[in-house]
Symmetry: D3
Subunit: 281 residues, 6 copies
Amino acid sequence: MDSQSYNFQYFTVRFPSDHQYVAHVEINRPEKMNAFVEAMWHEMSQIFTQLSSDPSVRSIVLSGAGERAFTTGLDVKAASQGLTPDAPNDPARKAVHLRRYIGVFQDCISAVERCEKPVIVAMHGFALGLAVDLSTAADVRLCSRDVQFSVKEADLGFAADIGTLSRLPKVVGHFGWVKEVALTARTFGAEEALRVGFVNNVYGSRQDTVSAALKMAALMASKSPLAMQSTKEILNYSRDHTVEEGLRYTAVWNSAALQSKDVSAAMLSGLQKRTPTFEKL
Amino acid sequence: MDSQSYNFQYFTVRFPSDHQYVAHVEINRPEKMNAFVEAMWHEMSQIFTQLSSDPSVRSIVLSGAGERAFTTGLDVKAASQGLTPDAPNDPARKAVHLRRYIGVFQDCISAVERCEKPVIVAMHGFALGLAVDLSTAADVRLCSRDVQFSVKEADLGFAADIGTLSRLPKVVGHFGWVKEVALTARTFGAEEALRVGFVNNVYGSRQDTVSAALKMAALMASKSPLAMQSTKEILNYSRDHTVEEGLRYTAVWNSAALQSKDVSAAMLSGLQKRTPTFEKL
Amino acid sequence: MDSQSYNFQYFTVRFPSDHQYVAHVEINRPEKMNAFVEAMWHEMSQIFTQLSSDPSVRSIVLSGAGERAFTTGLDVKAASQGLTPDAPNDPARKAVHLRRYIGVFQDCISAVERCEKPVIVAMHGFALGLAVDLSTAADVRLCSRDVQFSVKEADLGFAADIGTLSRLPKVVGHFGWVKEVALTARTFGAEEALRVGFVNNVYGSRQDTVSAALKMAALMASKSPLAMQSTKEILNYSRDHTVEEGLRYTAVWNSAALQSKDVSAAMLSGLQKRTPTFEKL
Amino acid sequence: MDSQSYNFQYFTVRFPSDHQYVAHVEINRPEKMNAFVEAMWHEMSQIFTQLSSDPSVRSIVLSGAGERAFTTGLDVKAASQGLTPDAPNDPARKAVHLRRYIGVFQDCISAVERCEKPVIVAMHGFALGLAVDLSTAADVRLCSRDVQFSVKEADLGFAADIGTLSRLPKVVGHFGWVKEVALTARTFGAEEALRVGFVNNVYGSRQDTVSAALKMAALMASKSPLAMQSTKEILNYSRDHTVEEGLRYTAVWNSAALQSKDVSAAMLSGLQKRTPTFEKL
Amino acid sequence: MDSQSYNFQYFTVRFPSDHQYVAHVEINRPEKMNAFVEAMWHEMSQIFTQLSSDPSVRSIVLSGAGERAFTTGLDVKAASQGLTPDAPNDPARKAVHLRRYIGVFQDCISAVERCEKPVIVAMHGFALGLAVDLSTAADVRLCSRDVQFSVKEADLGFAADIGTLSRLPKVVGHFGWVKEVALTARTFGAEEALRVGFVNNVYGSRQDTVSAALKMAALMASKSPLAMQSTKEILNYSRDHTVEEGLRYTAVWNSAALQSKDVSAAMLSGLQKRTPTFEKL
Amino acid sequence: MDSQSYNFQYFTVRFPSDHQYVAHVEINRPEKMNAFVEAMWHEMSQIFTQLSSDPSVRSIVLSGAGERAFTTGLDVKAASQGLTPDAPNDPARKAVHLRRYIGVFQDCISAVERCEKPVIVAMHGFALGLAVDLSTAADVRLCSRDVQFSVKEADLGFAADIGTLSRLPKVVGHFGWVKEVALTARTFGAEEALRVGFVNNVYGSRQDTVSAALKMAALMASKSPLAMQSTKEILNYSRDHTVEEGLRYTAVWNSAALQSKDVSAAMLSGLQKRTPTFEKL
């Protein structure tokens, strides 16, 4: 595999030579502060679906190009032309078209969550609206000191519908804070994001954030890819189920996963203080 | 609409002239530290049900009158006369009566959660037992520095049954802390409440807390009332469902909500840096 | 009841004379840093099942003997001999045997959660792998300053399958942090554990931690045992259900529990500023 | 209690002297084939809520007055004036008003299901639209040979939204048949209803059906009212939950219910071949 | 729209001129008794996804070409070459590949259920294995007298995993029968299928069955397409949720759907005994 | 394995020589019409737990000794001495003891459902109360013409709490019938049981029923034991989950199960028209 199979208009996908098995996805429309037009979420979905089963990739970093913004969210100018211009002029028929439209959009964002590999998102500058939807679908959120977050949608007259409202209450335990930022649409910065647990860590600059993300991704990529995939899957499953259901699902899952050579390889390496290597998946 | 349609014995409902669309509900039995007798939770339910569909109201603040207490909870003297004195003298029949009684009581408290508008609760002084049940049914919790919280019920020989035990684990992510305060019934103050995420912010005095609550309520009231209602509903729904169910419900919900004139009004105002106005709901 | 009925090979069970109704369970294999061999989780299950219905016990502390470790988790040397050596040599049949094996192991750990009495776990030194599984099944987690936690399993080539991945997301609200420590298997200390809400408090030494745990347990043991049991049960139920389901279950539960003499005893004691005593359960 | 406390405009409530503890509710607008106007579902809700806690009532029969129809459903002429005429002229705001309106309507029908006593519905003649919604909220459905059922709503251009689509798949196991009658809106008769299990039995005439319903109700009313209430509640709960959840809820429920004197009374009567009598509830 | 946009290798899609808005999909590999090779389920998914949003289609019939079989299921010869031949030779890695493979296969079958229009399946001759998986994803099942059904998978050494075991218990209420036919893999015929409610009706021949299916489809296609789509969606949702959740979802859904012109059009037509026409969707 | 390891007081376990891999469990207290005393459900649980992992057993038949009864249910004389005689004399404490007692009893019955092998129950004569609880935990129900069923508990003054009310609505799709027999406690016979789908088939005599059960069990025992176990597990899981959850669980389960040699063995045997043999599990 090489970066040539990942040729996209709005995204750059790199495979940093000093971080084996790590893919680095960059939103690349800096002249518009990485604002999303419709083609972009389709591209993004395609990228993460492809990475999900690419045996050369074991973990992923997602960041934004340019110094000013991770992304300012939906390109409002494009959106203000109407979301489903061809829908029939009947409120119920229009609702059908809107529901399909939202469903497709949600599904593109969910590709990040469905991706079998850990995804670390590194944010900086403006990270508004869609930025929050997107980042809650990732596994770990990091940011730079200058970041400005906002659950912007309420200011646009509607409820965030492509992920934030469904995922933020599962990502941050402080539900009153979730309510506040979603209902006021106010901006919040790195320090607050760290305090409430929206991000795992804060770094000095965009570059530092990306570096830290790559380093964390490399650490994950050094482990058994089966262990990484299993852990992500079971944590996401458990988030949405009772403890009892979680345990049952885990037992079935691991009844296959524990048969891997990786387990004895890892255990032996541990006892012998060697670094194990793991076969591709 | 004016305050005359909100005439209650134990509660005052005001519509502060400097905060358009904001209702301020005050528990008003300060001589008993706002302790609740049965008539009070029925009144409270009536108030929040009425506010829920009142088109002149877009957000609500709930606070307690008097300097000493938000509320000390259930009026124990009244309660100690027996909860269901007329129940037959058969443990199973008594259980039926108690279950109905608890059901009605729970339902009154849940009126705060069911209310379609955001509810910000401003607490001070003693905030015991029922105070916690009540506040977890609200959307945002604020408090003054002098507040003293306690999940008091364990000290009365029973498990809190009108909301705290069902809602606190969804409001505060630190489950060990929830267990501790519920199992020890110990008092905790403003700083601790802030640290674990039970409250969003702490203020110097009762008055400062109420002012901050009104200001936050006014900010919410300045947004599209559809966006506010949708956001509250979807967040509460998502708290209790899988991410996938949350997304599906959101798509159906927004297939109607996105057809509002508020969306283009808000987007245009945003682009034109004007303050939008929104029709009544 | 006395400690003679609690005679186990790998665990010591004490009933500290200065803490009425408190049981202190100690993992006692310090020469192996309390690493778990299979017999140990069966013993542990037996102990907590017995304590669960022992009327002389109202709360429980769990800690580890020796200065170096609460427990380093699974005894890897024992485990590396193969988990189900007698399983037929067919991946599907082996999966059946592994699933049964994991199920039994999970069930032993869940005995701590199923135990009707509050369980406070006091951790120090190394607290790796199984230590985290085990502690998330308890109600309150305390630790000493020198503790070193790790969700170790990823380093052994598999996903933690006896509780951590199902329970940690319900115990700590900061989901990104849960993902990070589970996917990196990195060590974290007392301060970080406190900050994210994995533990309730940090103490200077192993002994201080155990003392604090016993004191908290004694406070719980001084309350109505019905109130303690009900509170633990309803909180665990609510964690896994919608608010509405939680309220319904609570109403049914309390329709029996509120008929206890403990309620009037506790209320009267409160009004008369006396310490109530409660009958055995 | 006597029938005077059950004085309603559109419904007759009788207490047949030859069937102790049985209430007979009759839809009484035969000149319009018992078609429902809005006031009627509010009355119906009030009746079943009142019966639910009336200690003189242990089981209920619901039927329709006049020979031609149990009910032809919603009064279409009234409905065609518009459901929420005062709603603002914005599709999203109209949706809010419609959602509230449907919610209230659903809640009125659900009063039949929520009623703590068994409800047997006896149907004849036309039983269209709302008739099916209503009858699926009851416990047992009986009908006369001349009945004509139809899930009529599809013919009115919308999906049945006050109960049929949510309850019919839980009441009839033949899901393909449920789909067919809901998607074609075709009429089906007594024999087909019996074959697929929509009704329990078919009788020769309206009067025979009502008599059979009263007889069955009397049999239920002769049992312990606690056993009846518990059985209805647990069956409805179990319908909507996993077997494991059903068992857990049942155990908690019966931990109070089994303490009734009714149990020993019933057991003794059984051994002594006597008819037991049970205290009011 | 015309049949040219539905050009597939293994399926024929027709738009019968005498049945407006009806699509007829035929499995067309009669020389192999319509056995499925991998390309076929991908084609089928594509067809039903396309039909789902095709405004010229309002209902669909699915049948099999040739006199001998609806389909004999998976092409065993093809399957016996191995399902995921390229998977790494490690049981855990192989499990990952198999899980992806099953997931894709399931998703193709689920396209029938996800399709927004009613799907009627007309079966004849051999209808084995995949035939049952497929038909349970449809809305209505019809068959000819000569049909031979079998949940064949158990005879191939594994559990049916692309739908039968998950959907059959929701389609047929007689769970003991479901268990029997799944655990014995025995053949059952038209009469038995009718008796237990697996099919809605039995016809004399393949042609009669297809004709009846087309006629039923035409009846559905004559109704408001919004009503059809809403009814299918809400029934499928309700099958999988509690009654309470079903009602809530329905209210939100219909808050948009009831705003359609179809409702007044249908009601007026009803009052005026005219046949209504409905705009495309 | 032989019958000597299955030596019980109240049950006989046989391994009929003409039915390889089949175990036949007989309730053996005919002089008391197989009425259950407490020791019996503990024995029964032990038997089915042991059979569950016994590699020589692939399917199980359960029947009752003596001509008069499968079982008349709970031994009322024994039960009337009080269920938890040692419970403290406080309604809430008594509730705790009762809840534990019911929990243990339920768990014993659930051992039949948890058993990994298919269980066919063959009933005759009186099959009252516990008989129904027990049989709904089995996979297939058969009966003789003379059987008399009754959900007897309502006549004893309480709601059936060890399985019937939780499982019967999942076993029989006709919910109105389930309500009727549970609320009237009336007797029903073989024909009615067959018509509503409570039993799969009716036979002339006790012996014929047992023979048919053994024959069906032998057919199941001739299949791949992995396929049998997987099918039972996935059907029980799917009964209690959404279709989507069912499919997900199935994919994970089969990702291990499909790796068995049984699959190719069965496929080859099918193509070659040979009878396959399968390794022990």
